[in-house]
Every structure is written in structure tokens, then in C-alpha cells.
């Protein structure tokens, strides 16, 4: 066991998978000598050489497009896109090719690819460094979308992502990259994609969240004084509806929390499923606490944009009072 933050836990997962499997290689902008802009790949080029940790030209579509070819050629590439705001240029390669290759070739070609992407706001970053685009990729059939909220989860989920035979977008909430440490086993463990985690149990209300918002939810729940169950989805697609359903059938009340904009966000999907599956168990309408339907503001106002413990707490109170 080691006491690690999320950056260190991801770094350890990469080391262990690279040691275990020759086919795993890292590529991206500044991932080599510089160790990545967040230092997630620190020391890896020194350890594994320039063949396996590759500084590429500055071109996101090129990074993902060549990674697709690497994956079709039998390797397990783990490209990094520096910030979620730079996924745009790679959108076509991700959604038109990586996501569709297995389907359009009826399985003749596969793309075992893990795209690592720092995501979300809260670190006073410049424009286009703070967005939460997970719903875009969850809406694209053929991809899996993962977002851990702790160092322990990050390590186990990244191992699962790298070993997955299908393309996975692995969003790393940059706000909690170094926010806290926890015990992370050095021994290998795998957390299955598609399984949620019950962060704390309760029987009056269910909060469903993922990524850095989980931390805000924990604070809100602590202050609420109510018996609230917190479900961290961990995987955005395919998400663990069974865990959500079981919890909401028990509590009858639910608040879904995410940093991404409200409209057409994953919160809508989660609440629609709850409505379909738990209709007669609901004591109150499912509520969503989300980013606003605005452009992510520059950092002076970013904390006003993102769901915080106060906003989440108000929603909990409102649903409890319904």
C-alpha cells in the first residue's frame, strides 16, 4: 500500500501495464521528456524509452488517428489529449472511426484504445481548459466513457480501460488530481468498467454523481444531516443503472449532480432511467444540479458555474421537503 494522489495512482497504473504488456505505448504532446503538462507520465520515458513514450507533433487528430492505426495493428496505445478543450480537433477520428471500426467491419477490426483526457474546471485554468464534455462521447455508440473520482478508482479503472478490447475515453478530473491522497495498493487490481461505487449509504435520498463533483456531494451530504446515499457512477457509459435503481427504490428521492451543462447532459439520461424504472417508488421528482447552459466562464467565475456543496445542499433540502 502507498499513500498516493490521483496523478501518482495513474502513473503507477501506466507503469504496471507497460511492464506487463509490451503492446502498451503512450503518445501525445509533452508526454515524454516533460512528463505531461500535469506530470501524469513523469519519468515514464526515462523508464521505458522513446519508443514506448512518444512525444508527437502538436496535432490532436493526428494523435488519435495514428493511435487508431496502432490499435488496428495490434498494439494497445494510450494517447493523451492535454485538456478536454482540445478534443475538438480529434472528434472526427474518435467518433467517426475509433467508435465505429468494430461495428462497420463486423468485428474484423478492433480498436483497443484508451484516450486519457484531463477534464473539468476548478483549477483556475485558461479558456478551453475547464469543460466537461462526457455526454458527447457517451452519446456516441461504440465508445466507453470512464471518469474516476479517487486515486484508488483511477488506478483500477485505468487498468481495466487499457485492457478493454474497445475504445475508452478516460476522463481524469484535474481538480482532484492532487486534492487528496488515499491508500492505493501497489498490487494489481482491476475495477470493472460499468460498475458504480456506493460512496456512503443512506435511506432518505440518493445522490448520483461522478468525477470531481463527488467530492462536492460528500461535503453537501455531510452538512445536510440527512441519511443520504451517494452513488459514484465511475463509468458514464455503460452506466450502472442497476446500482442507481436499487438505491432509488430504497430512498424514493434522487438528485443527480454533474459539472457538465444541464441540457442533454448525462443527468437527463440518469433521471429518465430512474423515471422509467422507479416511477411508483418516487416520492419527489428527480432533480439535477449541473453546470449552467452557458459557456464555461473564465476562472474568476468558474466556482459560481460549477455545482458546489451549497447548491447541492439546496437541492437535497428541496427534494426532501417535496
Amino acid at each position: 500500500m502507498a499513500n498516493l494522489n490521483m496523478v501518482q495512482a495513474i502513473n503507477l497504473a501506466l507503469i504496471q501495464e507497460m511492464e506487463k504488456d509490451e503492446r502498451v505505448l503512450l503518445l501525445g504532446e509533452d508526454v515524454g521528456a516533460n512528463g505531461g503538462v500535469f506530470r501524469v507520465t513523469e519519468g515514464l520515458q526515462k523508464r521505458f524509452g522513446e519508443k514506448r513514450v512518444v512525444d508527437t507533433p502538436l496535432a490532436e487528430s493526428g494523435i488519435i488517428g495514428t493511435a487508431i492505426g496502432l490499435a488496428m495493428g495490434g498494439l494497445r496505445p494510450v494517447p493523451e489529449i492535454q485538456f478536454e478543450g482540445f478534443l475538438g480537433p480529434a472528434y472526427d477520428q474518435i467518433c467517426s472511426h475509433a467508435a465505429r471500426m468494430r461495428s462497420r467491419t463486423r468485428g474484423a477490426f478492433q480498436v483497443p484504445l484508451t484516450i486519457r483526457v484531463p477534464v473539468g474546471g476548478g483549477i483556475h485554468a485558461p479558456e478551453l481548459h475547464s469543460d466537461s464534455p462526457e455526454a458527447i462521447y457517451a452519446h456516441t455508440p461504440g465508445l466507453k466513457v470512464v471518469m474516476p473520482s479517487s486515486p484508488y478508482d483511477a488506478k483500477g479503472l485505468l487498468v481495466a480501460a487499457i485492457r478493454d478490447p474497445d475504445p475508452v475515453i478516460f476522463f481524469e478530473p484535474k481538480r482532484i488530481y492532487r486534492a487528496f491522497r488515499e491508500e492505493v495498493p501497489e498490487d494489481e487490481y482491476v475495477l470493472p468498467i460499468g460498475k458504480a461505487r456506493t460512496v456512503c449509504e443512506g435511506n432518505e435520498l440518493t445522490v448520483v454523481s461522478w468525477g470531481a463533483s463527488v467530492i462536492q456531494c460528500m461535503q453537501a451530504i455531510e452538512k445536510s444531516g440527512k441519511s443520504v446515499e451517494l452513488i459514484d457512477l465511475r463509468t458514464i457509459y455503460p452506466f450502472d443503472i442497476e446500482a442507481v435503481e436499487a438505491s432509488v427504490r430504497k430512498t424514493g428521492r434522487c438528485v443527480v449532480v454533474h459539472e457538465a451543462p444541464l441540457t442533454a447532459g448525462m443527468g437527463g439520461e440518469v433521471s429518465a432511467r430512474i423515471m422509467e424504472r422507479c416511477f411508483l417508488h418516487l416520492e419527489a421528482p428527480v432533480q439535477r444540479v449541473a453546470g449552467f447552459d452557458t459557456t464555461m466562464p473564465y476562472y474568476k467565475l468558474e466556482l459560481e458555474y460549477m455545482p458546489d456543496a451549497a447548491r447541492i445542499g439546496r437541492a437535497i433540502d428541496d427534494v426532501m421537503a417535496y
Binding site: 507533433p57 493526428g62 488517428g65 492505426g69 495493428g73 461495428s103 462497420r104 468485428g107 455503460p238
Partner: protein, 379 residues
């Protein structure tokens, strides 16, 4: 200080057998053995025949939109003839001739345009990627495939085909830049057929050659007469050897012409002069090879007649195989999404519905009478 020259170069152009029948002995002698030349002609002939059949299938409602390859047969064929069987051939959609030479069955291409993904499920041993329709994205995949081979220390290279319009796309430039800077053995082949649907080449590229786009990335480059099978073979030998021995990319511009419409949904007479098309018909890649073979006494009217009969049969059989394939299953489009299907997707597959009442076993019993899963859902 006087102004000096930072860099100076020229773009070579190669033509071996021109449309008048002039043959450059120096470059062409021994390049293609006689027996192979006959086979290459037969391959172009078969591709051309399939093209006509496919056109008529579309017109008679038996196939969807189809892009004819007519006039461009010598480009991809030259490449496929030269490449090793395990070199990757990463094409767009006007490279049927090269794919057939590789061994990709004609019905694979037909099935693709008949709206059936099974046409893309090409056996791995062909080392060919399926048809790529969005223009200009596949060059990055070729670069990745060649990179994977290099990573494993294999001597495999990749060859990728794209049109003049594709060289306007960012992905082309990213692929060229990655391959050149990361030293990846890819042969980039631009089929410059002068028209991207209705948009003429000068709107894609103002430089005097497309070939020099490769030069901009530090690649060796070459322009060839793409309607001359000798020239495409000559260029491909040079490029493949370069890629294999240096581990770096090479750029070939093959100048050719799309004799047909862009696709069966297009009418090129709206934007192209008849005279221009007629001029290019005289430069047809098949005509000059046939005349050349006749001069060498490798070919005759009788052989042509025999080939026509043989080809007609081969293509008819391919069409029959494509048309007689078992109907696809709705389960197929679910099952191919992931290696392991998420439970929710499996439920959509099994019930062929997305609304949940009656679908989800966890629903209240009072809703069980609603919308029982359809018995015929799989068919």
C-alpha cells in the same frame, strides 16, 4: 550579405508508356515481365467490367450509390502489384483494382455499396482496410499501422491512397507530418484526378504539383503518369524500397482522371467540359497496355474475346454471391458494437425497443401485459 538559396529542388515526373504508345526502354525494360503484364491488363479489364456492371446494378435499383473507378485502374494496381502481401493497403474508394489484386473478393466491394457491413469484414490476411468514405481520414490509420509494424521490428510498410481533394484536409497534413517526423514507413499516394466532385484541382492546391505537398514535410516525392501502369509500378518500386530501407515516408502524385461521374448520384456533365473528358478517354490506361501487348505479340483479338467471356462470368458470379448472401440480422448491428455487449444494449437487441415498459424484468408486474417483446425481433 547577399541573398543565398536556403533550399532548392525539383519534382521529377515519370512516364514510361504514353498514350501514343511510346515506350521508354531505359526505364521500362524488364520492369514488368510479359506474363505479369498480361495479368495486370486482365485485372484492369475485370475492374472496368465490374464498374460497368455495378453502375447498371445501381440504375436498376439493385445497389445503392456507387463510385465508379473507370479510368483510374492503373494507380492502385501498380501499388498492389509491387507491395508485399503483408504490407498494409489503406485506401479510399476508387482503388478497387488494387484491392482485387490483393485478393479482396469483388463481392466485398459490392456488398459495401449494397448497404451491408459484411462487405467491410475483410479477412485479415489481405492487409487491406475497408473502404473509407469521409475523405482524408485514412492516411492517419495507415501511419499508425506502419508505426505498429515498426514498433514490433517488422519490415512491413503501409501504402495509403487518397485524392487531390483529400490533400486539403487537415488529417492529410497531420499524417504526412507524423510519418515524416516520427520516421514511419508510409507511402502516400495521391490520385490526382483533377476533380473533387465538382470542385477543380486549383481550388484544392495552387502549387504547380500536388507532389510538392510531400516535399513540404521533408519527404521525397515524385509525380507520375497515373494512367501508365509501367510508371505507377516504377514509382511504387522506388517508394516501397525507400520506405523499407530508410523507414521513412515517400510521396507519389499519380496524375489520372475520373472518366465517370463522382458517384451514381452525380452528373459530371454539369461541371465538366465534354472535350476535356474526350481528351482523357484517349489516355485510358487500358488502351495503351493493350496496344503495347499487341506490338509485343502478347495479345490478340481472340485473347481479348476470351478475356471478355471469362471476365463476364467471374463478375456475374461475384454479383450473384453478393445478391444471394443471407439477409442480415438486426442482432448483427448490436453484436458488433462491443466485444462484450453492455446489458442495456443487449436488452435493446433482444426486444427491439427502447421504451422500457414490458422490456425491463424489474418493472412492476402490473405492466407485464404491455408490449411483450416481439417474437420476430431477431428477424
Amino acid at each position: 550579405m547577399p541573398i543565398t538559396t536556403a533550399f532548392k529542388t525539383e519534382i521529377p515526373r515519370v512516364s514510361i508508356l504514353d498514350e501514343q504508345g511510346n515506350f521508354d526502354e531505359k526505364l521500362g525494360k524488364g520492369l514488368i515481365p510479359d506474363a505479369d503484364l498480361v495479368k495486370l491488363y486482365e485485372a484492369m479489364y475485370a475492374c472496368r467490367h465490374l464498374d460497368g456492371v455495378a453502375f447498371r446494378l445501381q440504375r436498376s435499383g439493385r445497389m445503392g450509390t456507387y463510385p465508379q473507378n473507370m479510368g483510374q485502374e492503373a494507380t492502385s494496381l501498380g501499388a498492389a502489384y509491387v507491395l508485399n502481401k503483408n504490407d498494409w493497403l489503406v485506401t479510399c474508394y476508387r482503388e478497387n483494382c488494387g484491392l482485387f489484386w490483393r485478393g479482396v473478393p469483388m463481392e466485398s466491394i459490392l456488398l459495401h455499396w449494397m448497404g451491408d457491413e459484411r462487405g467491410n469484414a475483410m479477412p485479415r490476411e489481405h492487409h487491406a482496410t475497408p473502404i473509407a468514405v469521409p475523405i482524408g481520414t485514412q492516411m492517419l490509420h495507415a501511419t499508425g499501422l506502419a508505426w505498429a509494424a515498426k514498433y514490433r521490428g517488422e519490415k512491413q510498410i503501409a501504402c495509403t491512397f487518397f485524392g487531390d481533394g483529400a490533400t486539403s484536409e487537415g488529417d492529410f497534413h497531420e499524417a504526412a507530418n507524423f510519418a515524416a517526423n516520427l520516421k514511419i514507413p508510409v507511402v502516400f499516394v495521391c490520385q490526382n484526378n483533377f476533380w473533387a466532385i465538382s470542385v477543380p484541382g486549383h481550388i484544392q492546391c495552387s502549387a504547380p504539383t500536388v507532389a510538392q505537398r510531400g516535399l513540404a514535410y521533408g519527404m521525397e516525392c515524385l509525380q507520375v503518369d497515373g494512367n501508365d501502369i509501367f510508371a505507377t509500378v516504377w514509382a511504387m518500386r522506388k517508394a516501397a524500397e525507400h520506405a523499407r530501407t530508410t523507414g521513412t515516408p515517400y510521396f507519389i502524385e499519380m496524375v489520372t482522371y475520373r472518366l465517370g461521374d463522382h458517384t451514381t448520384a452525380d452528373d459530371a456533365s454539369r461541371y465538366r467540359d465534354k472535350a476535356e473528358v474526350e481528351g482523357w478517354k484517349a489516355k485510358d490506361p487500358l488502351i495503351r497496355v493493350r496496344k503495347h501487348m499487341e506490338r509485343l505479340r502478347l495479345w490478340s483479338d481472340a485473347k481479348e474475346k476470351e478475356l471478355a467471356e471469362r471476365t463476364e462470368k467471374v463478375v456475374a458470379e461475384a454479383v450473384a454471391r453478393a445478391e444471394n448472401i443471407a439477409a442480415p440480422h438486426t442482432a448483427d448491428f448490436f453484436n458488433a458494437m462491443y466485444q462484450e455487449l453492455p446489458a442495456d444494449l443487449a436488452m435493446q437487441r433482444d426486444t427491439m425497443q427502447t421504451h422500457s415498459l414490458g422490456q425491463d424484468p424489474g418493472q412492476l408486474s402490473s405492466t407485464e401485459h404491455l408490449n411483450k417483446p416481439a417474437e420476430h425481433a431477431h428477424h
